[in-house]
């Protein structure tokens, strides 16, 4: 009798452990949000508008124009770098290579790396960098554009600090963040791209995002 009880208890424990394990984790939504009240069918309805990435236009390593529309329906990861960066960029892109290898065949996924030194990092320079890194195809884009545009989108929209400063080695201060954007163009995660553990976390979070049911696309 006692044994049966114990076995039964263990079974319940195991079952609940399994259950909590399979519970889907949802990722937070970052950035500003504002409630919007509108009238639908004569009733007052309050909705939340989340901060999203606004329209942009840059050029990738193949010389193709890439805009916010090109990324419609994609989950993507953004970072900021420059090809002559002596400090954190090599380690960021060593870690990003793992992300690339994990998701390059899954579809609806992109990586975009903005150069913050567009004067030096022309399209051919970015192409050469991509080649040497071992990147081909259209999963990982290295984007070049007007400096003001890059700096503005970094700070205002992706919430990553970038600054030119001749006193530091390489000439720029920038944070090595990987920012995760969902299909609705909302920020869902921000990770230290120099830390392999956080990058592994991001890989898990991308899988969570991929399993998220498609909601109405805001844009």
């Amino acid at each position: 009798m006692r044994n049966t009880l114990i076995i039964g208890f263990a079974a319940v424990l195991l079952w609940s452990a399994c259950k909590s394990g399979s519970d889907k984790k949802t990722l937070p939504i970052y950035g500003n949000r504002e409630p919007v009240t509108k009238t639908v069918d004569g009733k007052q309805v309050t909705d939340t508008i989340y901060q999203t990435i606004p329209p942009f236009k840059f050029v990738n390593q193949y010389g193709d124009s890439i805009s916010n529309k090109t990324l419609n329906g994609d989950i993507y990861v953004v970072d900021f770098f420059f090809t002559t960066c002596p400090s954190i960029c090599p380690i960021m892109h060593r870690n990003m290579l793992k992300v690339y290898e994990t998701f390059k065949n899954t579809g609806n996924f992109k990586i975009i790396s903005h150069t913050i030194d567009p004067k030096h990092d022309s399209v051919p320079v970015l192409k050469k960098y991509a080649d040497k890194l071992g990147i081909s195809g259209n999963i990982w884009w290295f984007l070049q554009g007007k400096k003001e545009d890059v700096y503005t989108i970094a700070e205002k929209n992706y919430l990553v600090a970038v600054k030119q400063d001749s006193s530091v080695s390489g000439g720029y201060i920038h944070a090595g963040y990987f920012v995760l954007i969902d299909k609705q163009k909302r920020i869902r995660g921000s990770y230290d791209g120099t830390d392999p553990k956080q990058v592994d976390e991001m890989i898990a979070d991308i899988k969570t995002l991929q399993a998220e049911p498609d909601q109405m696309i805001v844009q």
Binding site: S87, P90, I91, Y129, D131, K132, L133, G134, T194
Partner: protein, 139 residues
């Protein structure tokens, strides 16, 4: 009986002496190597990787023993002043710029001892005197 004891005592003393000599050399190597690991983490690891693996075709690996042995006398200059242009490591051509590192001769000796004795490399201890001599001849 006593000559046997004397003999074994002599042998024992000789063994002790050899062991002491070895450990003296060994100790110096270990000091250089462990300090070198820290210098490596701070100044080299971002680009060359935690296992000296480099990064694709952008940054050369440090596990090419033949390259290290052949260029041993230039290595202190490479670390101190950086390196530009084409080099072939592990059969692959690399070109780019390695930045200069403002390290003291002893730090260069430590980090080179670490690199030259990690990831399959097995060269000797590279001590401070040797580094100073080589630095004087940098182009």
């Amino acid at each position: 009986m006593s000559w046997k004891l004397a003999c074994s005592l002599i042998v024992f003393v000789i063994i002790l002496l050899i062991a002491a000599c070895q450990s003296e050399e060994n100790l110096e190597f270990k000091r250089y190597y462990s300090s070198g690991a820290l210098v490596y983490q701070q100044h080299c690891q971002n680009c060359h990787g935690a296992n000296g693996e480099g990064l694709s075709a952008l940054i050369p690996p440090l596990s090419d023993s033949t390259y290290l042995r052949r260029n041993l006398s230039s290595l202190p200059c490479y670390v101190k002043n950086g390196l530009k242009g084409q080099i072939t490591v592990k059969g692959k051509v690399f070109e780019g710029t390695m930045p200069a590192n403002d390290l003291s001769p002893v730090e260069i000796a430590q980090v080179l001892t670490y690199i030259c004795n990690s990831w399959g490399n097995k060269l000797s201890t590279i001590d401070e005197q040797l580094v100073q001599k080589k630095l004087a001849g940098c182009k």
